[in-house]
């Protein structure tokens, strides 16, 4: 089979970042994914480290935090490495659909549960949410669209809320994707804008479910803002995620234009490992098993949801390379007694332990496979859910893994 410079396994944000970093460095890249990755589930904004208080300087905050979390993946590259990777990400999204921070640090944005969530980089369609106040904001729900409950959001945020009905379009039972496709059509967004305008009572901001189109969200935003005369923002909601799907599409379009090859939909079922190196991986494409070979491999297969690690009743394991997984002693210790606790469930810290170059290591710290690097949430020693660090870890480690891999 054809030899590639780099094979990326996984199409979450870590894998896509790795692939993109590699093509920018001139490498011939193959990207293999079982599905569309976690971006299409949760991707909305770019969280880096939610524990840094809103408004505080990120550079100092993250550096101080790393000092007390020396095992965290962020400790591999420090703030300078993280911000370099984030800048590369932002370059991929030129005007008008840009990603920016509000001020120099984290900001709080409203969610579909009516809470506020800290995040770092926001797409232009969410920026206005960061500055909302209860008095000046109107929350719009769409009657019949069940994955965004406008009344839950407005009651908890204590602002006014209205559920719109657009009988002409029959929104009952529509999915987020179907709504986003409707938004891509001019007449629909204009009808929606007019319907919102009729409900307004002097509000200066309008919050909507995050479905403002897949093709040209900035145009949808502009149309709605022009009609309503208010600032409009999207609110993240239950999966699937339209904003995350936009990020996925943008990466894929860029990578294909740069000559990368995508193989989506088939699982990698085995690896050919010889003398501390991966010599090839086997893709199941019934009725065929195809072996793909490359100089280097990036393992960005995620956690349990992505299939990067898995658990039976006894142990957690890594199914592809059978790498050792750092984990609690027994199943009884995986989770704490209560769902909500100040301390994260111990299983969240489980994952692959690596050296400084993100190569998986054994218990003695010895590199297991010289040409394989792990990136993203599969890594050990983070608690991405509680830390609000998922996208930051994906971007920073996907970037670093490829920089190191191609330098070797």
């Amino acid at each position: 089979m054809k030899r590639w410079d780099l094979i990326v396994i996984g199409t979450g944000l870590a894998g896509l970042t790795a692939a993109r970093t590699a093509v920018e460095m001139g490498a011939k890249v193959l990207v293999i994914g079982r599905g569309m990755g976690s971006l299409t589930l949760f991707g909305n904004t770019i969280d880096v480290l939610g524990e840094i208080p809103p408004g505080a300087d990120m550079a100092t905050g993250v550096a101080d935090w790393i000092a007390v979390h020396p095992d965290h993946p962020y400790a591999r590259m420090g703030w300078s490495g993280i911000s370099e990777a984030l800048n590369a990400f932002r370059e991929l999204f030129p005007s008008p659909y840009t990603f920016d921070s509000v001020g120099r640090g984290n900001s709080l944005v409203p969610t579909g549960a009516g809470t506020m969530r800290p995040t770092y980089l926001l797409p232009i369609t969410m920026t206005a949410g960061a500055g909302m106040s209860a008095a000046d904001t109107l929350i719009i729900g769409l009657r019949g669209f069940k994955d965004f409950q406008g009344d839950t959001v407005s009651l908890d945020l204590q602002c006014r809320g209205v559920n719109l009905s657009l009988p002409r379009y029959g929104l009952e039972g529509l999915t987020a994707l179907a709504l986003a496709r409707l938004m891509d059509e001019g007449p629909f967004r204009e009808s929606l804008g007019e319907a919102i305008r009729r409900q307004m009572a002097g509000e200066k901001r309008i919050g909507l479910p995050a479905v403002l189109g897949l093709k040209a969200p900035a145009d949808v935003l502009k149309t709605l803002e022009t009609i309503t005369g208010a600032k409009v923002f999207e609110i993240p909601m239950l999966p699937p995620s339209i904003p995350g799907t936009r990020i996925f599409h943008r990466f894929r379009e860029f990578l294909i234009a740069k000559g990368a090859t995508f193989l989506l939909g088939n699982p990698v079922i085995g690896a050919d490992v010889k003398e501390g190196r991966c010599e090839g991986i086997t893709l199941q494409n019934p009725p065929l098993l195809t072996v793909y070979r490359a100089e280097r491999y990036i393992l960005a297969t995620g956690r349990f949801l992505g299939g990067g690690i898995q658990a039976d009743r006894e142990r957690i394991s890594e199914p592809l390379f059978h790498l050792p997984v750092l984990q609690p002693e027994s199943r009884g210790e995986w989770f704490r007694e209560r769902f909500f606790q100040p301390e994260a469930h111990p299983i969240h810290r489980a994952g692959i332990v690596t050296d400084a170059e993100l190569r998986p290591v054994d218990a003695g710290g010895r590199v297991i496979l010289k040409n394989v690097r792990a990136a993203g949430s599969i890594l050990a020693h983070h608690q991405m859910i509680e830390e609000h660090s998922h996208e930051g870890i994906d971007i920073a480690t996907g970037y670093l893994a490829v920089r190191r891999a191609l330098a070797s």
Binding site: L41, F42, N44, G50, L108, T111, G112, A113, G114, T115, M116, R117, P118, M132, S133, A134, G141, G144, K146, D147, Q149, D151, T152, S154, L155, D156, L157, Q158, C159, G161, N163, G170, E172, G173, P236, L238, P239, R303, F304, L305, G307, Q310, A311, D312, R313, S330, R331, G332, W334, F335, E337, R338, F339, F340, Q341, P342, I385, E386, H388, H390
Partner: protein, 523 residues
């Protein structure tokens, strides 16, 4: 608000609701108080088995006869709560042929129909059974929906004048000399306290019997036994699958609508309210039951739960008025010299009607009335209405134009109208009450998606009523859900859990209650 009634029933399980209906059919007024919702105790935490009695045929023929009699009555009066699955008693090589022969003989004595099957016949009926099996016996087991059964009993009783107070806890018994003349109660939602005067008080609280009796300084000999069960993500068999050996832990798989329920264990219960299923119990059930159905090893489990059985200690029953080995009706006048109070406890879901009948007979005798029981003749009001997944599908298809429906749960086909109808009735008071009355949160995601949507429906009403919102309800639900999910988190369930945590803790940033006030995020 102080109330008065003829008979005060404490406990909204199958027994309490059954007594309420029995008395109503005899024209005797009653009022039932329940500290949570209907079936919050063992009536809602069992395997949903319509016993044929075969399980007890060898060891307890009297209980077996009781079961088969009630089995036949329930098929007549509550066909809509029952799925007539039939059941198999499966012999594995280590169980041998001898027990099987005894079993068939004993069933015959108890009046339970049996049909011996060869291993091949059984396998063709239930292909997932272990090919190692040596034979099976078919018996008239079935599946029963306890919640519908209890609610239907209550609904029928109410239409005949009985009254119910849910989320109302008994805090004290009113004593006048040697007589109990009512109870002091507290509404657990509003906190309101009031009294209910009654000429007879029935303690039908099952495992909680001694909690009530302690208010009068009494106690009876009951042992509390925790039984744990696991729910699979798919239905493993058409029929109830029992192990053909002496009764033991881990010997039964009951189909329930679209899933199966694996049971059970038996451990001494230490805490009535909190009984976590341990990893050891889960592993035991999976290992033991996969001997009958090997596919269980790779099956996905959606939830584990436990119920507490009140077992009447017969050794102490010398001065009790013992009616059966399964349950006990205790007259505290003859036993403790305290008039106006009786306790009914023990028993099984399948004998709830019989327990109610004996209790009502006793009350009638006390009141000097001669009114016959009718509950074995009079079908429940909803009889004839199907309740299976297929029935729901058919109703959806026929009643409403396609694609115009807002389904709150896509897996279990719960339309928004079902929730609106419950809310219109005006009787539900808590999120969990709605979950009890629908199939919301019973599917694969265990409410991970549909409860968010349900909360939206509730908040829409709160907004109309000028009330504020609170994600405390959502957090409370997730915490409650966790109790059932945590014991089965491996394999595919663990993937689902990462999804749920990513949504609620990640995307929605829901934090522990203590820390929530300090989030500073609310404008």
């Amino acid at each position: 608000m102080d109330l008065q009634t003829e008979v005060l029933i404490i406990g909204g399980g199958a027994t309490g609701a059954g007594i309420s209906r029995d008395l109503a059919l005899r024209g005797i007024p009653s009022l039932l108080v329940e500290k949570d919702d209907f079936t919050s105790g063992a009536s809602g935490r069992n395997q949903g088995l319509l016993h044929s009695g075969a399980r007890y045929a060898v060891t307890d023929p009297e209980a077996a006869r009781e079961c088969i009699t009630e089995n036949r009555i329930l098929r007549r009066i509550a066909p809509h709560c029952i799925e007539d699955t039939g059941g198999l008693f499966v012999s594995l090589p280590e169980d041998g042929h001898e027990y099987r022969a005894n079993f068939i003989r004993a069933c015959g004595v108890a009046g339970i129909d049996t049909e011996p099957l060869s291993a091949r016949e059984a396998l063709s009926m239930e292909p997932k059974l272990s090919p190692l099996m040596i034979g099976a016996v078919q018996v008239p087991d079935g599946a029963i929906d306890p919640f519908t059964l209890v609610v239907e009993n209550a609904r029928d009783a109410e239409s005949r004048g009985a009254r119910f107070l849910l989320h109302t806890e008994v805090t004290g018994l009113i004593r006048e000399g040697l007589r109990i003349s009512g109870a002091r109660v507290k509404d657990r939602i509003t906190g309101e306290e009031f009294t209910i005067a009654a000429s007879q008080v029935i303690n039908a609280t099952g495992a909680w019997a001694n909690e009530i009796l302690s208010l009068a300084g009494l106690s009876i000999g009951i042992a509390l036994s925790k039984g744990s069960m696991l729910i699979t993500n798919t239905r493993l068999s058409e029929r109830v699958i029992n192990r053909c050996r002496p009764p033991a832990s881990g010997d039964i798989i009951v189909p329930n609508d679209t899933v199966s329920i694996l049971g059970t264990t038996s451990l001494r219960a230490e805490d009535l309210e909190n009984h976590a299923v341990t990893p050891e119990e889960v592993s035991f059930l999976v290992d033991e039951l996969s001997r009958m159905i090997p596919a269980i090893k790779g099956e996905r489990f959606t939830r584990a739960y436990a119920g507490v059985r009140p077992l009447v200690q017969t050794a102490q029953a010398g001065d009790d008025r013992e009616i059966s080995r399964g349950f006990a009706l205790i007259d505290h006048q003859s036993r403790d010299g305290l008039e106006g109070l009786i306790t009914i406890t023990g028993g099984k879901l399948i004998t709830y009607r019989l327990m109610a009948e004996k209790t009502a007979d006793f009350i009638c005798a006390r009141m000097g009335l001669h009114v016959p029981c009718l509950t074995h003749l009079q079908p429940l009001p909803g009889a004839g209405r199907g309740h299976t997944f297929q029935d729901r599908l058919l109703r959806l298809r026929h009643q409403i134009p396609a694609f115009r429906r807002e389904l709150l749960c896509d897996c279990e086909l719960v339309p928004r109208e079902a929730v609106d109808a419950i809310l219109r009735e005006g009787k539900v008071r808590e999120l969990q009450d709605i979950l009890h009355r629908t199939r919301l949160a019973k599917g694969t995601c265990q409410g991970g998606f549909c409860v968010y949507r349900l909360l939206g429906v509730l908040n829409e009403r709160r907004k109309e009523e000028g009330l504020g919102g609170s994600n405390r309800i959502l957090k409370g639900f997730l915490e409650e859900r966790w109790k059932g999910i945590r014991p089965v988190l491996w394999g595919t369930s663990l993937k689902e859990e990462e999804l749920i945590e990513s949504i609620y803790k990640g995307l929605f940033n829901l934090t522990p209650e203590e820390a929530a006030t300090a989030d500073g995020g609310h404008p």
